[in-house]
Structures are given as structure tokens and as C-alpha cells.
């Protein structure tokens, strides 16, 4: 499915929380349940099908478009996804995902189609160090882009805010010089 917007990932009515926790149960809420009723899961939705499982979400192009709500990344992470694969990500979502340790992996459209062709039980391996994604059954592999700075952060658990805090003196100098 293409153009999955953040209103689908986490509808606005669930944005009233003041913490980052617990969004997973409302991930794709209106695609998951009939009339918002947890007793009535929609059978045709992937998250309701026990064949599917794991930590990687595969989606059509332009994933995460729309609202800047970081709650979308929190919901994916809280549900248990550590990576999302698509041929194209919306910019703000991509940053939000990376800032929460959810890896957005951009693959070519043909590679994405190959993944979909693998069907229900396909498994995929993502090597962050080598920046490659592999379809386990066929061994087909594609490299993906990852900003070296972000890669270092992800692999070492570094934090942008710690980095920026360490730059406060330089920022103060900048302010004086540009005033």
C-alpha cells in the first residue's frame, strides 16, 4: 500500500497523551479494527494475520507522509517494529523514526516489489554496519543509504540532544557574531 500517512499510523484522537509510551496498541487503529472495536479485528489487515510477525514493516512508497507527529514513530516502536522498508519516505517521518531508533530503509521500487513477491513468510536481514538489506530466501541484496553521523548514533546509542548540549558555547558565539 502506498502513501501511508501518519493519520493512519496513529489517528489524531490518540495524540492526547503527554508521555511517549503506550501508542503501540493504537498503531493503525482504524485499519485494524471494525468501528474502533478491539473485539472486531479486520481480518484482511496484515497486523491481524498471525502469518505476519517480526520487527520489520514493509510498505509502499511515500510512507509516513502528512502530519509531523512523532507519535507515529513512537507507535511503530512501541508495537515492536525496529525498521520500516519502503521505496520512499516522507522527510519529517524519516527524521522522527531515526530519532527513535526505528530504521527507515529506502530500497529501489523493483527491490520492494521483489520483497512483496516473496509472500507471507519471507524473512529479511538488515545489516546496519554494512548498510545492506537481504532477502534471506534468495540471497538478493541491496545497499541502502544511511547518513554516517546517524549511523554512528544508531550503532552507539548516541543522542542528538547530548551532542547539541555539548555545542552550547559554540552556539552562543554564533549568536554574538550574527547579532
Amino acid at each position: 500500500m502506498e502513501n501511508i500517512d501518519t493519520d493512519q499510523i496513529i489517528p489524531a484522537r490518540f495524540l492526547k497523551a503527554t508521555t511517549r509510551d503506550g501508542f503501540g496498541k493504537n498503531l493503525f487503529r482504524d485499519w485494524r479494527y471494525e468501528n474502533n472495536d478491539e473485539a472486531k479485528p479486520k481480518a484482511d489487515f496484515a497486523l491481524n494475520n498471525s502469518i505476519y510477525g517480526g520487527e520489520i514493516l514493509v510498505a509502499g512508497k511515500n510512507f509516513g507522509c502528512g502530519s509531523s507527529r512523532e507519535h507515529a514513530a513512537w507507535a511503530l516502536q512501541d508495537y515492536g517494529f525496529n525498521a520500516v522498508i519502503s521505496s520512499f519516505f516522507a522527510d519529517i517521518f524519516k527524521n522522527n523514526a531515526l530519532n527513535n531508533g526505528v530504521l527507515p530503509v529506502t530500497v529501489s521500487e523493483p527491490f520492494l516489489q521483489k520483497i512483496f513477491e516473496q509472500g507471507n513468510e519471507a524473512t529479511l536481514s538488515i545489516d546496519v554496519e554494512k548498510q545492506t538489506i537481504t532477502i534471506d530466501a534468495t540471497g538478493e541484496q541491496e545497499p541502502f543509504e544511511l547518513n554516517p553521523y546517524k549511523k554512528t548514533c544508531l550503532l552507539n546509542g548516541y543522542d542528538d540532544i547530548d551532542f547539541l548540549l555539548s555545542r552550547r558555547a559554540a552556539i552562543t558565539t554564533f549568536e554574538k557574531e550574527s547579532a
Partner: protein
Amino acid sequence: MGKTLFDKIWDKHVVEKIPDGPSVLYIDKHFIHEVTSPQAFKGIEQRGVELFRPKQTVATADHNVPTINQHLPIRDELSRIQVEQLINNCSRHGVELYGLGHPYQGIVHVIGPELGITQPGMTIVCGDSHTSTHGAFGAIAFGIGTSEVEMVFASQCVLQTKPKTMRINIEGALQKGVVSKDIILYIIAKISASGATGFFVEYAGSTIRSLSMEARMTICNMSIEMGARGGMIAPDETTFQYVKGRAFAPKGAAWDKKLAEWQELYSDADAVFDAEINIDAAAIHPMITYGTNPGLGIAVNGHIPVLDDIYDEGEKKNIEKALQYMGLKSGASLIGMPVQHVFIGSCTNSRIEDLREIAELVKGRKKSDTVKVMIVPGSQQVAKQVHAEGLDRIFAEAGFQIRQAGCSACLGMNEDKIPAGEYCISTSNRNFEGRQGAGARTLLASPLTAAAAAITGVVTDIRELI
């Protein structure tokens, strides 16, 4: 080689460039609201650090507030807690808050410009994707996530990778009945909901120059709906006149100094953009969307695409799914189709000019009995002006309900929701599934086209009423 407007502002705000990484970009103004800030305040408190530059952040309550009885406690408990947290967080950290009851309260992207906080040449961020609105003043303005809100709290900077630049030139005179909302809906329909992803867009050309500031804001506002990180327009005399004299605009000698700086903010003649698109204004008709992303739009007198004529299988599937959700048919015309709701509001179209334009159309007319019409002014200031000009009487006589300022039915976070299965012509910016309420069906259009439907009860070509 010359510089683009974007480059001129960007380069002035880079504190440092991380090797093989993003830039540390200095932020002049930071707007916050109740929904995307609580976790950032919490984060900064857990780290035990103070806000670095609290005076450069301005807060308002808009997304989650009721649009009636704002003087009473908020009934919904979660909404009330969120708004109370904003009040507490702002007072604890020394952030100016224009909350409920304050004369400056309103939708964040309406109040920034109207108070003169938004100015040319600035970098502006907010935890809201429609921050692109402020780009209409020749600013770099874009939406950020909550982690980035925390970055601004911590350092008055965000880490950003420089986007590519795109220029969209629009030349010529607009047809009668065509307004800036139609221009942007036309552009998005042309290049798709992801057509500008990775880019920062500059809108240029004689058509843009002829528009008022509020009309320009509508265009920049929806830049994100084609995936662009932001949109901007070079400031000109129209911009300067709009900013001058506003509450937070520079005054006296400071004004003269700023004005001289602002007059240098344009893309040099030999500046090169990564992409360029040319549009003939005369080709634009009043627009309406039929699908579930803002790129699925047509001329109001046109037809929904015929599914069998679409070669791209992915696109065909998208449109098929959208039509199913919307209860619409391949190849159909929307003219004459009944709608049950008209929503006039949101950061896209809730400013005084929008409401004047509508008042002029509905004066002496009445809404159709089969339609509920809700007008939600963008801010307390807009509401005050509506009253001062007597527009409220025109709306009351027409049967339009006027509410209090907030985001309201644009995103269906408060109780202003559209019931499942019903159609709403909306002046807002998104027609995603369930955006205005679970199962709600949104048709995006200009304030004029929305008001026309309010009068007739059906989708109408505004050109038949003027």
C-alpha cells in the same frame, strides 16, 4: 553562481556542519502547542537542563481545544490535562503562552504572522508540519518532530540535512473565482502528494507577486502536502506593508535596519535550482479533491479519472481504494453531489481575508437546509475583526455557525468531528482517511467553493454564483 533565497537564509543560520552529517541550524523563532511539546519538556527536565533560549519560543493552545465555551473548563479530561500541562510547562520554563482566553490565542500558523512574530529572513520551526505557512514571508519555516522540539529547547538549534531546492513559477492572471487555494491544489494534483519530497520550494512569478500575504500563506501552508519540507516566497512590498506596525514587528530605527536586510532576500538571477516547474495561471480552475490524499484533485467541473485509463498499477490501486473509501465512482463528475457539512477553518484558510471573501458571497443568501456549516476563525484576533466588520451578522443570517479559534475539524482531535460516511467540503489541508473523524469523507476546496456548497447544498462551480 548566484544564490537562491533559500541558500541565503540557510547559510546565515548554519552554526556548524558536521562532517558527513547534518548541519547545526540556528532557529530564530520556535512555536509550540499542547500536542507535540509535553514529551519534549519532560525530556529536557529528565536531563536536568534549562531551556537554552526560552524567549525565542512562543506557545499557544490550538490543536486540542474546544471551539465553544472556551471560558469553561475543558470537558474532555485528556484534552484538559494536555492544555494544563502546557500552561505549567510554559510557566516553569519561562515561555510566553497565548493560551485559552488570551486575546492572542489561535492557530499557531495564524497568530505568528498576524502578531508580526513571523518575519522575513528568519528560521522558524514548530512541532507541526504546516509550519511551512510562515515561508510566505521569505523565511525558512518547517515542521519538526517532538525530539527536534527538545533539541530546540536544549540548544536553539536543530540538526538538519540541507534539502534540494525547487522553484515553481506561476505566471499570468487567474480566472474569475480562482483563488490561492486553487493554485496550490492544482500544483499538488499536478506533481502528486510526494512530488516535492526532499525539496524546499520557492514559489515565484507574476501570479504569486499579485497575491496578498494571506493568500500566499495558503499556498506555502500546503507545501508539505506534496512532500516538500517547506515553501517560501521572496518578500516584497506586499510583505513589508503587512508586517509593518504589527505587535512584534520591529519599530523605528530597528525597522529601517531590518527592512534593508529584507530587501536583499530574493533568489539571484543566476541562481540554479535542483528542479523547476512552470505553471500557467490561466489553466487553473476552481479545484476540489475526490480522494484520500491532497494530490487527488480535479477542476470542480472536471471528472474523476477513469480507472481503466490509468497505466500505473500502483496509482490505479491507490485511486481505486480512495474511491471506495469516498463512495465515489471512476469517471464521475462531482458537480451536483450533495454534501452534509461545510467546514471553514484551519491554518490553511481561516484568516480575515478568507472570511471577508465568503461574507461577500453569502451576503443576503441563506445556507441550504441540508448542510451544517461551521466557521472556525483562526485566532481571537480574526474573530474580533469578524465582529468589528459585522461579518458575524452576515454569517448568522445565512445560518453559518461561528465558533471560537482552534484547529477544530481539520484534524478531528477535539469534539468537532464529521460523522462516518458523510461528506464535508473543507477549507483545510488534508483529506486522509478518517482525518475529520473516523469514516468521514473530506473534499478539500477553497473558501469560495466551500461557501458555494453551503448555499446550494451540493458541489457547485463557484463561477455560477458570481
